[in-house]
């Protein structure tokens, strides 16, 4: 017995083209720089942030400056009320290390 043949459609959604961006030029050295440590809302993030600070301090001492930022809410920070605060904080640092807790 020959089964019927079907022409079938895709359930996969179209997307608008996302403008692609390169990443920011890197630092030549972390020494002499203000390094931002960001922790999201997950419970491991702040301890990881603390461990990163300890390790950077051990390696670089006063050659780098550490700034910390702790996310309060659990939403995507770029679209949350904290976005503006995070943007202002970013202006004060030269680079960012992100701890996400996962």
């Amino acid at each position: 017995m020959v089964e019927a043949l079907y022409d079938v459609l895709s359930p996969w959604a179209e997307t608008d083209p996302i403008p692609l961006s390169g990443i920011t030029a890197r630092l030549d050295d972390v020494r002499g720089k203000r390094i931002g440590l960001y922790a999201n809302y997950k419970r491991a993030a702040a301890p990881i942030q603390g461990a990163v600070e300890a390790e950077l301090s051990r390696r670089y001492g006063s050659a780098i400056t550490i700034e910390r930022f702790q996310q309060a809410g659990s939403n995507d920070i770029g679209s949350s009320d904290e976005g503006a605060q995070f943007s202002r904080w970013l202006e004060e640092v030269d680079a960012v290390i992100v701890a996400v807790g996962d």
């Binding site: 459609l9 996969w12 959604a13 931002g36 990881i48 390696r59 659990s74 960012v96």
Partner: protein
């Protein structure tokens, strides 16, 4: 990774420390934000780790790579990423017999593992009869991939799920509710907690679609309950691009992602219907979406009002955030006869909650407390559907030919043999 992308978009070199199990998630997240070259360092630190020594060891192991990620010059593809080839999304994508189609869809990751109905052009046209909206109408863009939830794509996924065309109005309203930022769908769909969409349907459309709100409302066997939830799950995968272990990082998973849909048993409820207690008119059709991750069923230790309420309070304990309390009709009647309204009951649950201990688990925003819905058949069970977010409702808009559609599909019911 979104935080990392945000920093990059503010012209700050950034790097994320990511658990090694999240490598695909990190790549997908970066690509979905248009910054596929965003740097991350994989670590051996266990997820949600509370052990200081393990965190310190993991960071010590990774710190060299972290510093390198901030200082190593960019590769050409990091400076100017190339666009990936796009999937074919329009027109016929495959021709074959039924088993070949099952294999084709499954191998592309487009199913939930169960067989689908083939979404042919004819089947799509039939499904589109369930709405007056044009096929190209975009209901929204589904996170994380930002796939366009057009009416046509909703209908294709509905066909695959085995839905009847009369489900389309509910599906469209449910997608609208899910995409309301208040629902936090974008977080719940991809995070580790395995949150699943839970739909409560109110209004005359419950009966028109024969959405079960009585015996076994959350069990398989009703085409509306089963296929509406299934279609939502397929849309999360095929429109939102949330695939388990890649973008959907639910640790344990959740059977409710197959389907968790019920109608309120308005006919057997002594109270105004759920949606009328939360801003709609009783005659409106309405769908309410939330994202719980667990569901427990309990028998009260007494069938008077005190026995029912005390048992609910005991099982909720102190740490619940969002509870949809599903009360069966007999208990609802008992409570109403004793003078309890849903509002008073919610107040009782919230004001007598024991002190909340500090669990140390991540702060989750949007908790809204408790809501009461009446569902289920004869018997003495209570359901606690537990989550951490909000309920979001949307009106269900039916097409002009609705009565005709309901007549056409309304008699499509199982006839169980007696034995």
């Amino acid at each position: 990774m979104y935080d990392t992308i945000f920093a990059e978009q503010h012209n700050k070199p950034a790097v994320a420390l990511v658990n090694q199990g999240f490598v695909h998630d990190a790549r997908s997240a970066a690509a979905s934000k248009g910054v596929p070259g965003a740097r991350f360092v994989l670590t051996s630190i266990p997820c949600e780790c509370t052990v200081t020594d393990k965190i310190a060891a993991g960071v010590q192991e990774a710190i060299g790579d972290v510093v390198a990620a901030l200082t190593m010059p960019l590769k050409p593809e990091e400076m100017s990423p190339a666009a990936r080839p796009t999937e074919v999304t329009r027109g016929a994508v495959f021709s074959g017999d039924l088993s070949e189609i099952q294999r084709f869809y499954y191998k592309r990751g487009w199913t939930d593992g169960l067989p689908i109905l083939p979404p042919t052009r004819d089947a799509l046209d039939e499904m589109l009869a369930g709405t007056d909206l044009p096929p190209e109408h975009i209901v929204g863009k589904m996170i994380p991939r930002l796939g366009k939830a057009t009416v046509e794509k909703i209908a294709i996924n509905a066909v695959m799920a085995g839905a009847l065309p009369t489900a389309m109005p509910v599906l469209i309203a449910a997608v609208e509710a899910m995409l309301d930022p208040l629902s936090s769908y974008g977080i719940f769909q991809v995070t580790t907690g395995s949150w699943a969409p839970f739909l409560i349907v109110n209004g005359p459309i419950r009966d028109q679609l024969r959405i079960n709100g009585s015996s076994g409302a959350l069990s398989p066997g009703d085409i509306a309950n089963a296929s509406i939830g299934r279609a939502i799950g397929l849309m999360a995968r095929n429109l939102g691009g949330a695939r388990k272990g890649i973008e959907d990082m639910g640790v344990l998973g959740n059977p409710a992602k197959y389907s968790m849909v019920l109608a309120e048993n308005e006919a057997a409820s002594p109270w105004p219907p759920f949606h009328a207690r939360h801003g709609s008119e009783a005659d409106d059709n309405c769908v309410t979406v939330s994202f719980p991750n667990s569901y427990v069923q309990i028998v009260p230790r007494g069938t008077d009002d005190a026995g029912i309420i005390d048992t609910i309070k005991e099982r909720l304990g102190p740490v619940w955030r969002q509870a949809t309390v599903v009360i069966c009709p007999s208990h609802a009647t008992t409570l109403a006869e004793a003078g309890w309204t849903p509002e008073r009951l919610v107040q009782e649950l919230e004001t007598t909650r024991p002190p909340v201990p500090d669990t140390g688990i991540g702060r989750l925003s949007g908790a809204e407390g408790a809501r009461i819905v009446v569902a289920g058949g004869p018997g003495a069970w209570i359901g606690l559907v537990l989550g951490v977010g909000r309920w979001v409702s949307r009106p269900v808009c039916v097409p002009a030919n609705w009565d005709k559609l309901v007549r056409k599909y309304g008699e499509y019911v199982p006839n169980y043999l007696r034995y």
